[in-house]
Amino acid sequence: MSRGQNTSSTTSAANAAILAAALVFATLPLWADKGLVFLAGIVMVQIVFAVSFNLMFGLTGLVSFGQAAFFAAGAYTAAWLGRAVPELPFLIFCLAGGLVGALLALLIGVVALRRASGIYFAILTLALGQLVYTLIGKSDALGREDGLVGIKRPVIDLFVGTLDLSIGDRYYYFLLVACGILLGLLWWVWHGQLGRLLAALRQDAERIRFFGVNVRRYREIAFIISGGVTALAGALVAPWSQIITPAIAHWSYSALPILFCLLGGASRFWGPAVGAIVFAGLEYATRTMVGVSELIVGGALLVVVLAMPGGIVGTLSLLARKLTKNGKERLNEQSA
């Protein structure tokens, strides 16, 4: 589909950046220390978390403040199943985690989307997310406040043989591939017919009704996909961190993807990914300074919301557009 003409150079620059980032993630275990590799694994999962959240936020235009509930649902389902029925294949646990997340999204969506107007939806999802947090934190089967510990990295049964992911950096590469597949899926949804429909719905929900679109149903569909993929990300993280606690269901964890989206730019598919990487960098750099890290994160977020509503990616592409426009004008002047 044709877009504006002068965006091709920015598009190729963006593609190069994505490729470079993918390359850095792929080669990281070769040159970085263990701590950094672990962090990178977490960041990859958080990218999936944030991009799937952005399906609701940036694309559909609804702020859910309870996204961590889905992440935790996926992580706990997969980890618990791994304990209860260890003989089943790991991929089943992941899929079950995603399914539980999608079902939970269906339930919460039915309640919270009844009359979704911005702030009510935000608070209702917050309350329902906290309900999930409380339930997990008080449940004996899920280890109460201590969570589930000693989660094993799985052995995957391929048709030609088995692959033991507990050895070396293998689970990292598994994460890389799995997150890549999930991002590909989300990319498809975002850019496909459904994504374009959701974007139109965000711009004018009243108008899209007159295109024969059942607004509430499509918001629910977006919520379910978003919750399901978030839960899959959660399921993947459990064997990586090998311990999960109720903290991943807490509302402050729900605020993370919002932060990433705003920091990177919620209107672009890759915006939240940029936000997640920049945020991880900020946190890593300030990790030893008590209190300062909050001041930097909070300050950055406030500045972004007040001064750069497009986030990092939005601001960069705006700059790029201005630069190319200026260049063009100069060319025109010369030819005139």
């Binding site: 608070i123 309350a127 919002i258 209190g291 909070g298 406030l302 007040l306």
Partner: protein, 293 residues
């Protein structure tokens, strides 16, 4: 049995009035500016920490009056902070979508947490109740902590004062008209920006006051702001955002549901609060009362 019942009711009341103290300023600011201030809990927390510091400056046991004076002083300090934030942040948020201002004020909550960690450190701190409120009343075979009664009384007094101001005074009525239709109020010659600022300063002062009054109620930690705000959100949204009377009623309803729910299902304390919030909003999405009252 009856005694148990009373005790649970009293716990519910204490919780309700503590949360109402926090929610009052929050709902006031939303009623006038339509900004749901996520950082409100953070400023309650700052009020509580300030109270802790000031009380530790005084020598010997603190009496009730010194304690009250300190709380009012904290209200004033946080009110001044509110003025600064109104000028620097809220001023820019009026034109922004509701959910974006929610996120901007969330950023301020993170700043509050960082500030508290820097100044007071990340560890738990405890402030004992002042002399005269550290004991308990004996009612039959029922021990009632006198500090609980103090919290309940504070909540009721703050509610009555606010309610009187909004409904019985001229400035309160002007405030209501600004909330209903700022454009029309402006046409009628009311300086609406001054009213906005007044509401913000009053809302923040209420946060500081709540922090001061509730400081001895729990151990202080940088996570306190977040805990406060979630409960206050539930209360004001169930009460009807912007509605002080609604928040008062909602605090009582939710407090009682949670207190009695916890008695019957002790395995999951706190869960009934969220269930009640979701359940009530299912049937009354606009909350119990609507409009600024």
């Amino acid at each position: 049995m009856v005694g148990d019942f009373l005790l649970v009711g009293l716990n519910g009341m204490t919780w309700a009035m503590a949360v109402f103290l926090v929610a009052a300023g929050l709902t006031l600011i939303f009623g006038i500016l339509h900004i749901l201030n996520f950082s409100h809990g953070g400023f309650v927390m700052i009020g509580a920490y300030l109270t802790y510091t000031l009380i530790n400056q005084t020598s010997g046991p603190t009496g009730i009056f010194v304690f009250l004076a300190v709380a009012v002083l904290c209200a004033a300090v946080v009110g001044v902070l509110g003025y600064v934030i109104d000028r620097t942040v809220f001023e820019r948020l009026k034109a922004v979508d509701d959910s974006y201002s929610l996120i901007a004020t969330y950023a301020m909550l993170i700043l509050c947490e960082g500030g508290v960690k820097l100044v007071w450190g990340p560890d738990f701190i405890a402030l004992p109740p002042p002399a005269g409120l550290d004991g308990a009343l004996l009612l039959g075979d029922l021990f009632i902590p006198s500090y609980s009664l103090f919290v309940i009384l504070s909540g009721i007094v703050v509610f009555l004062v606010l309610d009187f101001w909004i409904h019985r005074t001229r400035s309160g009525k002007v405030m209501q008209s600004v909330a209903l239709d700022p454009w029309m109020a402006n046409v009628l010659g009311i300086n609406i920006n001054a009213m906005f600022t007044t509401a913000v300063v009053a809302g923040f002062a209420l946060a500081g006051l709540a922090g001061g009054l509730l400081a001895p109620n729990q151990s202080l930690s940088p996570g306190l702001g977040g805990t406060y705000i979630i409960q206050a959100f539930g209360v004001i949204i169930v009460g009807g955002i912007g509605n002080v009377r609604g928040a008062f009623i909602a605090a009582l309803v939710l407090g009682m549901i949670d207190a009695f729910g916890t008695v019957y299902v002790p395995e999951y304390p706190g869960i009934f609060f969220y269930i009640a919030v979701a359940g009530i909003l299912m049937y009354r999405p606009q909350g119990l009362l609507s409009g600024i009252r």
